[in-house]
């Protein structure tokens, strides 16, 4: 059930990776693409993997994580298509939501 934490975290991470890319930074309205966001984005993706694997059955969890990563990427495409300028905020929201959900799951 930790998909509720994994999906927003993966979304946040992938959004940041997107923002670090020239084309997508332009879509969002940034003058340049901040390259350092890429590292932060990967941290988010790895964090989502760590949270995903924190279950008794890591084999099932790994398969699920790959699927959730694809779903999160689809959401980034959707966000860039419908509300490109909101992406930085959505990314931050995803990170916060994921972290909150993870804390709730642990507690």
């Amino acid at each position: 059930m930790n998909a509720v934490a994994v999906l927003p975290l993966a979304f946040g991470g992938l959004s940041l990776i997107g923002l670090s890319m020239q084309r997508h930074a332009r879509d969002v309205g940034l003058a340049t693409n901040p390259r350092w966001l890429r590292g932060l984005g990967w941290v988010g993706v790895l964090l989502s993997l760590t949270v995903a694997l924190a279950t008794p059955n890591w084999r099932f969890a790994l398969v699920e994580w790959i699927g959730l990563l694809a779903a999160a990427a689809a959401l980034v495409v959707l966000a860039l298509y419908c509300r490109p300028r909101a992406l930085p905020w959505l990314a931050a929201g995803g990170g916060l939501l994921g972290a909150a959900a993870f804390v709730l799951l642990i507690a």
Binding site: G18, R23, V63, I66, G67, L69, A70, A74, V77
Partner: protein, 508 residues
């Protein structure tokens, strides 16, 4: 040199994708539906509303089979679980059209007469890799298509060089550009899934198309090859002396205890009613990634344990895990929906690729492109329409009708044929719009018709926490909305492909 390589890959991609593309679309979509095979079967047997514990259901099934099909060489049973209410039974029967029967038995009475006769989700599962063709041709064609798919994926990664730079890009309303974006995004986002499902799909049929490993090691001695591939199985010839089967309940309880917490999933009984009867219980295929892991084999006449086997050979385990990944039987709810969505993405990647082949050749004339454009509509709209017709037939055909299960399958193929024919007679742009509009209407109406005929509707399902019926209806509504969206988009296409269309229509 590099340019030459990419060009040749482009040719490879578009032609490998086209030739078996229509077949691949049907395989991908039937496979996607098969993710919910248990649920589809449950929906198609609305009479069955409660289940029984696996051991009791198997006992009931064995009781009924012993009375009605005692002469079968073997009964292969799958016990009910949290997802399936009925016991699935496969056994040989010379009187059946295909030489075997695949039926669902009531978990309480063990009889198939409690529910309407239907193949349920088993039909889509079988179609996915046998394509309704005689053995082994359907499987050969399916694995050939899978290999073509793998070629298309790899060459696709090479030629769509910008997919990683424009990773999250989709631009709407730009004609061919939009189709290309959709093709790339759907393909690249779920790329790990697409590669996994294609490679593991080939693995499931590997011994059929590449038997040389077996031939080199065992020659013609296939019996030894089988025995060494599955040491857990005990096989012996029937003795010819009738001896009644020992009570199966205690054997299953024993197997359950030896499986250390895993459920009993499948039970097969070879030579039932014979002195040499063998009962094999396997653990549930949803308890681990690997498709088969544990078996307990009993002497049918005495109930004595003959063999307990847990697979521990790395090569075999690797194979079973790949097989299990493809089957996805392990997948808990979230994973199951992700399998379904990724499967839809794969089908959509194939469909957009087929459309692109036409859109990239606006000047193409002749029989080939004419036919290809119409086959696109006939398959991409026709196949889901056929599945819908299968469901409609399930609700409309009267329960006591003889040959009912086969009639449902006929409804499937006649509908597909009708849509193909319709697509041949219509201009593709119109046919896209019309077929998808009908598809949307059909999917949206099915829950209502089903409620009228079975009394199990969305409202009652939600109130009664009947997640199977509620989920089925809601999924149909979602797919109806998707089809309506496609119909609308197809209706307002930009001018990219219109010169050719106009050129065709005006002189007529």
């Amino acid at each position: 040199m590099k340019q030459g390589f990419r060009q040749s890959m482009a040719g490879l991609h578009s032609w490998s994708g086209l030739i078996l593309g229509w077949l691949l679309f049907a395989i991908a979509l039937s496979g996607t539906a098969t993710v919910f095979r248990s649920e589809i079967s449950g929906w198609m047997r609305p009479e069955i509303a409660k289940s029984a514990p696996p051991a009791e259901a198997i006992e009931a099934a064995v009781g009924w089979l012993g009375t009605h099909h005692p002469k079968a060489a073997g009964w292969y049973l799958t016990a009910p679980d949290g997802r399936t209410l009925t016991t699935q039974a496969v056994f040989d029967d010379a009187a059946a059209p295909l030489g075997y029967r695949d039926i669902a038995l009531d978990p309480v009475s063990g009889s198939p007469d409690a529910a309407r006769a239907t193949l349920g989700g088993e039909f889509l599962y079988r179609f996915h890799f046998e394509l309704q063709l005689p053995y082994p041709w359907g499987r050969f064609l399916a694995v050939a298509a899978a290999m073509m798919m793998l070629i298309a994926i790899i060459s696709g990664i090479v030629i769509h060089k910008r997919i990683f730079k424009d990773f999250f890009t989709f631009r709407a309303g730009k004609g061919k550009r939009s189709w290309l974006d959709a093709h790339n995004v759907l393909g690249v986002l779920a790329l790990p899934f697409h590669l996994m499902i294609t490679v593991t799909g080939i693995v499931t049929l590997l011994t059929l198309v590449m038997p040389w490993g077996t031939t080199a090691n065992y020659g013609d001695d296939l019996e030894t090859a089988f025995a060494e591939a599955a040491p857990g199985l005990v096989s012996r010839e029937a003795a010819g002396r009738p001896v009644p089967l020992a009570p199966i309940g205690p054997m299953l309880a024993d197997a359950q205890r030896r499986f250390e917490g895993d459920r009993v999933g499948r039970v097969s009984i070879a030579n039932p009613g014979d002195a040499h009867a063998i009962v094999t219980a396997s653990n549930h295929d949803g308890d681990q990634l690997a498709y088969s892991a544990r078996t307990a084999t009993f002497d049918g006449a005495t109930g004595r344990l003959l063999n307990l086997y847990t697979e521990a050979r790395p090569a075999r385990q690797a194979h079973d895990v790949l097989y299990g990944l493809h089957m996805g039987r392990f997948a808990p709810e979230v994973s199951r929906w992700l399998y379904f969505l990724c499967g839809l993405a794969l089908a959509a990647t194939i469909a957009t690729g087929l459309v692109l082949w036409i859109e990239s050749r606006p000047q193409a004339r002749g029989v080939g492109p004419w036919f290809a454009a119409r086959l696109n509509v006939g398959t991409v709209a026709g196949f889901p329409m056929a599945i819908l017709a299968f469901f409609y037939a399930n609700r409309i055909l009267p329960a006591p009708m003889p040959g009912r299960a086969e009639a449902e399958v006929s409804a499937f193929f006649w509908t597909w044929g009708a849509v193909l024919l319709f697509a041949m007679l219509r201009s593709p742009a119109r046919a896209w719009r019309e077929t998808f509009a009908v598809l949307a209407l059909g999917a949206a109406m099915l829950p209502i018709l089903s409620f009228a005929l079975t009394g199990r509707g969305l409202w009652t399902a939600l109130l009664g926490r009947d997640w199977l019926f509620a989920g089925f209806d809601l999924t149909l509504f979602a797919l109806a909305a998707l089809a309506a969206g496609i119909a609308r988009k197809a209706g307002s296409r930009p001018a990219a492909a219109s010169p050719r269309r106009r050129g065709r229509v005006v002189p007529a």
